[in-house]
Symmetry: C4
Subunit: 318 residues, 4 copies
């Protein structure tokens, strides 16, 4: 009996090793990841193609079969991850795993389809939920990290920008309504209706399906258009500044690690590996890391002065 | 009598405490703020919905009732703020409060509606003024601060950009008029008329309601379009550079505070609280502050080393 | 006779003082500048309004009178500037002034109209040249300096971006021509014709007067559209980076000036005035200057250590 | 015989000197470069003009003659470069040159036209391949270097941005399909069809050939439009941040070179020339280099001060 428990424990560790990839260099789990990515992509492609009537009616059986297969795989995947969750040092319990964002996405990707087996849901709503499987891909994109960190860090600035946009939108729609509601009662008959034009203008999308025609409307529209380039510029400025800041801070982190490693005068192999791991985690390029290393070495060279008390050289050549 | 004066003074301090929130952590005033924000938002929504005829005629009485209620609240709010102004150390007198931007916005939000009780104003103009209540929300958005500081600080650059845009606009309109005024006398019959196209093109909005059709016009239009991406890029560049600069300076401010606190070798609790207050005021994230702290500590450590030869401390604690 | 020469010299110095404003604080020349700015603006407005037929026919005499007056003023202005040029230490001779960009703009603003008095030029061409008077305004906009410095400094990057845009444009037009030339022979009948669509798409203007309709064309168009946001982003990125760099360098200049002034331990009034002049010339805000000053003072405080030879404090309290 | 070998070797060195310009200041090779640039540009112009039927039928013989001449020149050029490749220290063998990107572009520019002499290829496909000759211009644009380095360095961020765009695109198309497929079965009849609208909206191109008309569709469209300014801002932010970073690092490289040269207390002529070469290679402006030099000199000065009390030099020349 105890041996069975031990076997299960080993199996759980094995499942964890395959699904959560604690060891990023192992080949097997990497191929499993790729297979899952392909399956998710095919799922999204299937939902998209099902909306094309001509394709759907010809290939209905194939689509249904593929959905059945995918659902099975995703259910098994969810169950396996849930079962193996205690292996992950990041989560204290299965519940804390199940309420993590990635786990909730996994659940959303299977729950509606499972429910459909018992309760008849509208097929269109079901399709929309199956589309959410796309979000499962976020797990596999480490490069997203820095961008999302920027959005998180600059949330305040984005919110302020959004507030300015809303204020501008309401004023633009009000002005256009005042100028145009008598000439174009369809497009500018009320402020909510005028918002469609205001939105397209302030974001510089400019569909052109609705445009002011009166002289007052055109003059007001021109002013709004100029403000529009400012509005469209705000997020670009925030993202540029945020990314710059992220890069700066990540580089400072790596630099601190370098300095710590150099404190004893040399960087040993273990320290080298640690720095390399940090570099990958921070998403910095090897070239950037090399430059930091060069600079720190040069600085260390320069500082190799004399002790003001005994007059000897302060450190040995590095 | 003197007790009544004292009572009034206490009441005024109480009103100040509720309305101006000198203590940002108190719960009561925070709920009052939220209630006012909701009321302002509902007011703006009401003005927007009133322009939809079908809604307006069905709910006229409700709209009027709501406007009466809102006006009363805003009048009382304005009076209370005016009365309690001397409690605020920022303002020397009630007059200096009444002429501050936020107070003028508050006044604009009630004055036209109050005037309407005595003088018949055009309802459309009144509505436009009621829309200005939206600006009352600026009081509650501390995140706006950094963005507005950027606009203020970079006003010179924005003005220069605006000048370039105006020059470009006039040249674009002149060129399009030269090329197209014979073929399209409606859209390009005069330079002012051609400006509508030039504006939409230079800002990359591109409605498409008016486009050049002659070969010369299209070639000229293509050149203007390319210049357009430059024009649209200017504000983005200015904002990005300005935000970057703001962030840099705010961080430098916090760093100076940290260094000052560390001068005696340790950061006591009072200093910690002061730094935290400054951090919030500057709108910096906790993570950014932690990183500054780490760096300064590391620097202090590094400067307080020992000579490896004679063992003496190289410098006194900073 | 020598007295007349002396009088003329004095007059020339006077003219120079009025027109070129060596002393930026004098009131008289400032009002003259404002008057000239107003006259230039009115000239541009006149040319614009003359293209509106209904206005032109009603006010022809007034327009002609105003043009005569303006031309006289600008001719006198040009002659006076040319005569007084030797007073300006920046120019070695009248010729070197006459070939400077600002002088050439001044000449272009009057020459065509003067020629018209002798040779009959097409009125439309003349109008276009009169529009160039707008460029005379560049003399009065010191804020343009930093933006133009960015364009100059980053000319290489802009040129590279322009090259990428041209390559993309040709490929986009070729692809669209391949996909659409049979279905839409008018809009996509040749690569030059398809360039109109390609230009509007790559710059994200998107008029919509011409769009692909075939499946292949739409798929290709979608790819081009995505590349378009990259193209439109290039100048924004270059300007943001360039402005950032300008700001950084200008601030470093001011910092050097501060350090130089502080070398003797204190900033005297003359040094203060010099720094203030440099600050204005560099277009930096007073707040930015104050922050640099604070930082340098703090650094000086920190460095006030002991001489390792005699042990005394290295500098007096600042 | 050995003399013939020697002659060939000399000729090869000569060819290398003319075609690959190891000496950037020589006049002859520079004119050869310009001639090749003109020829490439004319080739692209010819392919573009050939698609205009009216021009093509009138000038067919000239076009064919020009194509024959160009093909000969490009074949000779490719052969000469291949033959002279071993002279280039960057390439170990002819094969390693032939597989370099620039050599592959050169091959692509001639191969299809050569094949056409033997096998009948569709003329339209051939034209598309001839258009690839445009890429030969990349060899001559050193300014492209920094931009391409940014794209390479920030590839991860661009890929993450592209992923976000794809996710957004699929959601936008799904939502628009749900809201509009019944009212506009042509434009929004399936998710792939709705992607055309989603693409034009998310990139802020906004053709306006297809727009939502239902209230739900317009509200959803407005949300997507706002997200669109964020999407369009991502690449601008990435490029701005990347360019900034490149500039920063290139400047740091130059600074290190300056410091190294200054270690012996002075910058000799040989060092000066080396720094100038590095500056050109890094694409930094002379002004930027001068500022770095000034700063380093000032620092060196500052570090080489005297104690104001005992008059001794505080540190040795750096």
């Amino acid at each position: 009996m105890s041996s069975l428990v031990q076997d299960l424990k080993n199996l759980r560790a094995e499942v964890y090793w395959w699904l959560e990839r604690p060891n990023r260099d192992a080949d097997g789990p990497r191929f499993l990841d790729i297979a899952l990515i392909v399956l998710i992509t095919l799922n999204v492609a299937a939902v998209i193609l099902e909306t094309v009537d001509s394709i759907y009616f010809d290939w209905k059986a194939t689509f249904d079969l593929f959905e059945g297969f995918s659902l099975t795989v995703f259910v098994v995947e969810y169950a396996a991850r849930l079962w193996a969750a205690p292996e992950n040092p990041e989560y204290k319990s299965r519940l804390s795993w199940a309420t993590s964002p990635l786990a909730l996405i996994d659940l959303l990707a299977i729950l509606p389809a499972l429910l459909y087996l018992f309760i008849p849901i509208d097929l269109r709503v079901l399709r929309a939920f199956r589309m959410l499987r796309l979000l499962k891909l976020t797990r596999y994109s480490p490069a997203l990290g820095m961008l999302l960190a920027v959005f998180e860090e600059e949330a305040g600035a984005f919110f302020a920008g959004f507030f300015i946009l809303m204020v501008m939108l309401i004023f633009a729609a009000s002005g256009a309504w005042l100028a145009e509601h008598e000439v174009q009662p369809d497009a500018f008959g009320s402020i909510p209706a005028a918002m469609w034009w205001a939105m397209a203008t302030l974001t510089t999308v400019g569909y052109g399906d609705v445009t002011p025609v009166t002289v007052a409307g055109k003059m007001f529209g021109a002013v709004i258009t100029v403000i529009g380039i400012g509005m469209a510029a705000l997020p670009a400025g925030i993202i540029a500044s945020g990314l710059n800041d992220q890069l700066h801070r990540r580089r400072a982190s790596l630099e601190r690690e370098f300095r710590k490693a150099l404190e004893d005068g040399t960087i040993c192999e273990a320290e080298e590996a640690e720095i390399e791991a940090l570099r990958k985690q921070l998403g910095l390029s090897r070239r950037a890391a090399d430059q930091i290393r060069d600079r720190i070495h040069a600085e260390a060279e320069a500082r190799r002065g004399h002790c003001p008390h005994c007059g000897k050289v302060l450190s040995e050549p590095l």
